[in-house]
């Protein structure tokens, strides 16, 4: 078990700079999830930690050893790939035992470790099969099994569940959470799936264009996004963003002229604000509410409903209601934005600091 420290890591492929200076400290036994849109560098970052790519500049430290120049084999990490990457010519048993065999462990010890891992992952009946004889979920389980047999310093997961179908994904997600509780080891997990990030992570690292936008526990990111990018990226469906202008006394005026009272009372803070964000679940329908709109589309998902409401200024916002909404399309509604959940952003997209 060991923590991982990244210091000023840069990575370029030829002219293209993919990672532009990343500093991060991952603590021992921590579960860290990298999220970001495709092409943001999160997978490259993981491969840099694993040693599959060499850093252009900067330092990677695992435990108390600087591994920047070391090949992957000497970093004592395990990686689970999106495509499973099982050795097709080896049985499940040999696949799982391979890292130990390479480490030169005696046969009995390899067999014992494989047996234990197979027991944890319920793979015992499959040990003598070839990868092509397994289903997708079983293959991913074998890949995880291969990574745990040799008790690495840390686990790296590269979108491990993306190739599974929805039901299996939920199941494997829970299994990975259990695995982490059982092994209590450092895990770095790359995904583009909101739910995986929110449910698995101790801390989420949001990447964008090769840089870290924000680091923090899932709910911290959800409730206090540091900037517009994180605000819109975290949460599904995403946060509504409306342009307007902040006034003194914590007032914010939307483009259509409707004024909103925020709980940010300091006038100078509110005056900075250029854009306002509000999550769909923080909007209430209220016949006295200051914001007017007309329902364009109603989506009823069973547990909750989403109303797409056209505002007079032309933008459309999303409102979440519990249960099945009885409202019909083309209805005029008035809304109230819960002031304690309003997010304000300045011209650069940075959050206007909470100050209550």
């Amino acid at each position: 078990m060991a923590g991982i420290v990244l210091r000023g890591v840069h990575k370029s492929f030829g002219e293209v700079e993919v990672i532009r200076g990343v500093d991060l400290e991952i603590e021992d036994r921590e579960f860290v999830v990298f999220v970001g849109p495709s092409g943001c560098g999160k997978s490259t970052m993981l491969r840099l930690i694993g040693g599959l790519e060499e850093v252009t500049e900067g330092q990677i430290i695992i435990g108390d050893q600087d591994v920047t120049g070391l090949p992957p084999a000497e970093r004592s990490l395990s990686m689970v790939f999106q495509s499973y990457a099982l050795y097709p010519h080896k049985t499940v048993r040999d696949n799982m035992g391979f890292p130990l065999k390479m480490a030169g462990e005696p046969k009995e010890q390899v067999a014992a470790a494989v047996k234990e891992a197979a027991n944890v992952l319920k793979l015992e009946p499959l040990l003598d099969r070839l990868p092509k004889e397994l289903s997708g979920g079983q293959r991913q389980r074998v890949a995880i099994g291969r990574s745990i047999v040799r008790a690495p310093l840390a686990f790296l997961f590269d979108e491990p569940l993306s190739n599974l179908d929805a039901a299996l994904r939920v199941q494997m997600r829970v299994e990975i959470a259990r695995l982490h509780r059982r092994l209590r080891s450092t895990m770095v997990y790359v995904t583009h799936d909101q739910v995986e990030a929110m449910t698995l992570a101790h801390r989420i690292v949001v990447f964008s264009e090769g840089q870290i936008e924000q680091i923090g526990p899932p709910l911290e990111l959800y409730e206090n996004p540091a900037n517009l990018f994180v605000a819109t990226f975290i949460g599904s469906p995403g946060m509504n963003i409306l342009s307007g202008k902040g006034f003194g006394e914590g007032q914010f005026r939307l483009e259509d002229g409707s004024g909103l009272k925020t709980d940010r009372t300091l006038a100078e803070v509110a005056e900075n604000a250029d854009q306002m964000g509000i999550r769909p679940e923080h909007i209430e329908l209220d016949s006295e509410g200051p914001v007017r709109g007309k329902i364009a589309v109603v989506e009823r998902l069973g547990a909750d409903s989403f109303l797409h409401v056209d505002l007079e200024a032309g933008t459309t916002i999303l409102v979440r209601q519990n249960g099945n909404s009885s409202l019909e399309e083309e209805t005029n509604v008035r809304m109230r934005f819960l002031p304690e959940h309003l997010h304000l952003f300045n011209v650069e997209g940075k959050a206007v600091t909470k100050n209550t």
Partner: protein, 410 residues
Amino acid sequence: MTARQWQTLLFTSLGLGVIWAFLIFALLAAGLSLFEGTGLVPSSAQITICGLVAGIWGLIAIERRTRGLIGGFVLGISLLFHLLATDTPFQNSEAHPLLQSLGALLGAFLLVIVLVFSFRTLGPGVVNRRRWELCILSSLQVFGFVFFTVLVVLPFYVMLMTSLKSQQALLMNPLDLMPNWRQDGWAIFRSYVELFRDFNFGRYIGVSAIVSLATVALTLLFAVPGAYAVARLRFQGRKLLSRSILMIYLVPAIVLVIPLYVIFSQLGLRNSLLGLLIVYPATTLPVALYMLQGYFRGIPPELEEAALMDGCSRMVAIRQVTMPLSIPALASVGLYVFMIAWNEFLFAFMFLDDPSIFTLPRGVVSLNSSEVPRQHLMAGAVISTVPILILFLWAERFLVKGLTAGSVKG
């Protein structure tokens, strides 16, 4: 159906009937001639009329869907073939008449089978363009099959039969390829015995085997790392290298052979197997590189990366993961290179003067220089062909594809 469609149908069935009648009876006549040792030539009127009748029958069969009459029509057409002949069915009374009748029956049978196969997509009812095209395509399919079979089988047949004949029999009637089966014991194989006993063929086989195997080993030794580098590693000029690999084939061997002859003579490499072992891998490497790099590209890089993470160095990862998965490619490249080296003639002919280091092709051609009879030449050809044949049948099991199935989600 419109008149126009009837017209199409009529022309198609009559046309295919006549074309196939010519093809089948010509092939049968050639086959019988080789068998009987005398020329059998049925008249074209005979064939044309049989073909027309078969075509019309096909047309009726399409409309009525009467498959039950096949037997009757086979008999009918073979009878017609007999009646139209002025002599025996294949117009040559020297050959066995019963055999000719059997030939006519076989011909009629094949004709009807092919036409039924081709026409099965037509009718009954409206003949549209798609059905008509399917009919023509089925016919072409059978034609392709027959054509390539004849192309492959006939020379081999002539080669094998000639090698089993005696000098006198060949001189008496060059067309008669049937060897005399009623000889004592192994006498029929006397050409082979003589080749091994008097003409040193055992040694030639040995030399050829050594040269070919060494060529395979050398080629793979250079091609595997080369192809791997081009397929996997990023370096300056990689694209240029991978594209220029096949450029060497732009230069014909005949252009290279003279300069190489001069250079190798100077270096004392000309009349030696070492010389051949320099030239052969050089000529086979481009194709080997090309084939292997394509295969290496098809192996998911994640597999090697997984091995790297599991504690292998790159070399070990290649040996443990990439190589076992490449066995089919290595086998086919090896087989291909072996075949090229085994059959290579030009350089062997130019370079080798010493009979003790002749390769098989060089040995076979050396038979031609004296008054060695044709059956020896053919026996030599058989000797040099059969090992390749056996090798292919044996190695086929290694060429199984799809070994990477199940490793990564595709």
